[in-house]
């Protein structure tokens, strides 16, 4: 093992997913020398998404080719503070990426803006329902940034991603399409919406018949050939059905690898190092200034990379882990209710319902894209929560991203045997004639749900693992059950033969064994109050002002929508303020304490 120190650079960016790629591009444009460190291997669509070899369900979705290997680093999990957490040894419930492009290479491509009220949820709920509506122990918070402030950055991200969708209003003018609950936009989507697959078409008509407001889901899957502002080219989505878990061989799904890296590589001031696992951020003797990072390379060498500005842009929980390991900010303590790093850790509250159409109808679940049809009638605060007594909501949608046969056959139908001829017959019928409706809901933050360092288990790098303390809470369980009860109105209009409602069960703890979603949020959140947020509204550490922490870690609570659209907008927002303010100042805080 050789320890060495490299020549200093202006910026080190930790992580090569969406957040890291956006930050690196913006800071290279500003003329800074940027080194990007990626803990995984080099990846490209040309190699990892090659046709037809990448269309391999076993390699892609079952053996997790593009994902983090728990053998190297994982987390420990427990439901309650009085339990001992144990390692998450096999990937299942959530699937962080590893390698160049991060989770941006294997995501599906659902690309939302945040509902304006979600960005100021504490204020909004207090104004509409009164302060006592917020339950004891719920850390409901505002982001400290408004939709109006973020709008130009949502717009920029959609143009970079080549997002397909239908606007409801553009500069106040109604288009006659789109989501009636969506906020106003300064411009239309760069591409028209993807076509509805059969099951989405069924859902659209049934939802309209039930009196709801169906719309085409915005998807960073190009509905037509597209060239983005960086000159990156996308092919049109051909609905091959290998979106989630795979690199897109059509170059139709936006990824950092396709949409940003080609332009980033042309900057002479940009360097990408893969197999570079960052161990910690180095601070000077005051603890108020970062001097760079130390990482371990593939040969086991520990290498110091000095830098004037450190951008943490790894996956949500890796960012929190690095802050805890480096001593950036004060670790959260749920007992004394002090500290901010690890606070407001949230997830997403998703349940899936299955609908069986008559055997004369084939649902063709193998056809897929990141598009689909959704209703927002029960998302966010689009409905009156007053009589319901819970906070949060859930869109309902058919987002058929291609169901492959191993996943189809493993999907369990309650009441049917799990093997043998009866199971086999049911699995085939289900694959051919059913489809799934997802309720992807918000997840509020609670005082006793948090991240900290585990006292027992260590990563393969010898560092304490990150510990998750997480369980479903009454507010979120009731929200899910209410929304699913409303789904029955849509199902009635579908002409379905059978339905199994997926609903959260009171008393049933968070279970790591079944895939739920990789939309983990919070742990180092943004806000206006350094007592309840680790980052200010520009994603700058309150404590170490030359460290910015970019990703879904910044969300004070989990929203119903997929996080990537907001992560990208926040990255552009943060980069804009680094470029226009921080670089011109003395490197200090952008928000005075």
């Amino acid at each position: 093992m050789t320890d060495k120190t490299l020549p200093p650079v202006d910026v080190v960016v930790v992580g090569s997913g969406w957040a890291g790629s956006i930050m690196a591009k913006e800071l290279c444009e500003a003329g800074l020398s940027v080194v990007m460190l990626e803990r995984g291997q080099r990846r490209s669509t040309a190699r990892d998404g090659a046709y037809p070899s990448s269309l391999d369900e076993l390699e892609g979705a079952v053996r997790y080719k593009l994902f983090q290997n728990p053998a190297q680093t994982t987390v420990t999990v427990r439901n309650r503070m009085d339990q001992e957490a144990v390692p998450y040894r096999r990937l299942a419930a959530f699937l962080p990426g590893a390698g160049v492009g991060g989770a941006g290479l294997h995501w599906t491509g659902v690309h939302f803006r945040a509902p304006p009220q979600d960005l100021r949820l504490r204020s909004h709920i207090t104004e509409r329902y009164g302060r006592t509506f917020i339950p004891e122990g719920m850390n409901l918070q505002d982001y400290g940034v408004t939709y109006a402030e973020l709008e130009p950055f949502f717009d920029k991200a959609e143009k970079v991603f080549g997002t397909s969708g239908e606007a409801y209003t553009v500069n106040g003018k109604t288009t006659g399409k789109g989501n009636v609950f969506a906020p106003d936009r300064s411009d239309d989507f760069p591409l028209p919406a993807l076509r509805d697959v059969y099951t989405a078409h069924l859902f659209r008509h049934a939802a309209a018949e039930a009196g709801y407001h169906p719309y085409a889901m915005p998807a960073a899957n190009a509905s037509q050939p597209y060239t983005n502002p960086y000159g990156a080219q996308m092919g049109p989505c051909n609905f091959c059905g290998y979106c989630s878990d795979y690199a897109c061989y059509m170059y139709a799904k936006a990824s950092p690898n396709v949409n940003i890296m080609p332009a980033l590589r042309r900057h002479e001031n940009f360097t990408l190092r893969s197999n570079a696992h960052v161990l910690k951020v180095l601070l000077d003797s005051t603890g108020k200034k970062a001097t760079g990072v130390v990482y371990q390379d593939a040969e086991g060498n520990q290498i110091t990379q000095p830098a004037g500005l450190v951008i943490l842009a790894a996956f949500q929980f890796h960012n929190v882990h690095l802050m805890l390991l480096s001593g950036i900010g004060k670790a959260y303590d749920p007992v004394s209710n002090t500290g901010t790093v690890g606070r407001n850790f949230t997830y997403q509250n998703i349940t899936n319902s299955t609908v069986w159409m008559p055997p004369t109808r084939s649902t063709d679940q193998f056809i897929g894209s990141a598009g689909g049809v959704a209703i927002d009638d029960f998302n966010s605060d689009n409905f009156d929560h007053g009589p319901l007594g819970f906070i949060g909501g859930s869109p309902l949608w058919v987002n058929q991203a291609g169901v492959k046969p191993i996943a189809g056959a493993k999907a369990h139908t309650p009441g049917v045997p799990r093997w043998g001829s009866a199971w086999k017959k049911a699995a085939i019928e289900t694959y051919r004639h059913s489809f799934t409706i997802n309720a992807q809901g918000s997840n509020m933050a609670y005082r006793d749900v948090y991240l900290d360092l585990d006292p027992t288990w260590r990563t393969s790098y010898g560092q304490p693992m990150l510990r998750m303390t997480f369980d479903w809470k009454d507010n979120d369980i009731r929200m899910n059950r209410y929304v699913i009860s409303q789904l029955a109105n849509v199902v009635k209009a579908l002409g379905a033969q059978d339905v199994q409602y997926g609903m959260r069960e009171p008393g049933k703890p968070f279970d790591v064994r079944e895939y739920q979603t990789t939309h983990l949020c919070g742990g180092a959140v943004m806000g206006d109050d350094p007592k309840t947020s680790a980052l200010n509204r520009y994603l700058q550490s309150w404590d170490v002002p030359n460290v910015f922490v970019v990703g879904a870690n910044a969300f004070p609570q989990g929203m119903g929508y997929n996080p990537t659209g907001l992560v990208a907008a926040l990255a552009y927002w943060s980069a804009h303020h680094i470029r226009t303010q921080w670089l011109k100042g003395n490197g200090g805080p952008l928000v005075a304490l």
Binding site: A46, L58, A71, L91, I406, W419, P509
Partner: protein, 269 residues
């Protein structure tokens, strides 16, 4: 080596597939390919049925060709594995069973992979095997070790309880035994060299069930799903990778049978 790799692949001569395989180096090439795909795909299909007939005779239950000897499992273990997989995934009116699909060979092949060796799981101790089940797998065993311990244990257990080998018992009795494993009626002693921690019978059963499903439906290049018969049964078109023309033909059943990564085709059911 799965026999699918040795057979000639008529589709390999298809200009469309070859073009697609070679043509995707850049975004610009992706555009070029997509613009020709629908028309060429249709032309490609015209000859598909006749080519498929010389590509492969669809597997029938009980007619699987002489299997290669297993590389990881002993003959005794493999005999149990073959019989158990066939009960989990039996040949029946729905289609071929695990044996005809090559599932036991798939599992044998998977043992010699990073996954089989446990390199994709966090394997460091300590192992809290009494942790709540919802917190996930906590045993110290890799997939290879689950099979070694499970098969050694179950073979001895069946001999003790039925005075016979599993594969010689009637299907009804075999199902009773598998149900007992599923319901965790026993546990199997760990191997002294590895760990004294016993392996619950249900852990072994769930691994076997999961791997059986994967062997039936994974791409044939992994050794199972022989002749794409798993996909035909399920109604999955395989690695076609292009439904541009079928997205919104809501009243037209998708007409084409599956194709594998290597270009093997099967007739549609």
């Amino acid at each position: 080596m799965p026999d699918t790799l040795h057979r000639p692949h008529p589709a390999a001569a298809s200009p469309t597939r070859r073009h697609i395989v070679q043509g995707l180096g850049t975004g610009a090439a992706a555009l070029a390919v997509s613009s020709i795909t629908p028309a060429q795909a249709a032309a490609d299909q015209t000859g598909a049925a006749s080519r498929a007939s010389d590509a492969a005779t669809p597997a029938r239950p009980g007619s699987s060709s002489a299997p290669d000897a297993p590389r990881f499992f002993s003959p005794e273990q493999f005999a149990f594995l073959c019989a158990a997989c066939e009960r989990i995934f039996p040949a029946d009116a729905s289609g071929p069973g695990a044996l005809a699909l090559g599932v036991p060979h798939f599992i044998d092949q998977q043992m010699d992979t990073p996954w089989g060796r446990g390199e994709l799981w966090y394997m460091q101790g300590p192992h809290r095997t009494d942790a709540p089940a919802n917190l996930g797998y906590q045993l110290p065993y890799s997939p290879q070790q689950i099979y070694k311990i499970g098969l050694t244990g179950v073979i001895a257990w069946v001999r003790q309880t039925h005075q016979a080998a599993f594969e010689t018992l009637t299907p009804d009795v075999q199902d009773t035994i598998l149900t007992a494993l599923e319901q965790n009626a026993t546990q199997f002693a760990g191997q002294p060299a590895l760990s004294p921690v016993p392996l619950p019978a249900s852990t072994f059963f769930e691994q076997l069930r999961s791997d059986t499903i994967e062997g039936a439906f994974a791409d044939p290049l992994h050794g199972g799903n022989r002749h794409l018969a798993g996909w035909v049964m399920m109604g999955f078109p395989g690695a076609r990778g292009d439904y541009m023309d079928w997205v919104d033909r809501y009243d037209t059943p998708y007409p084409y049978g599956p194709v594998s990564i290597t270009g093997e085709r099967a007739e549609h059911d």
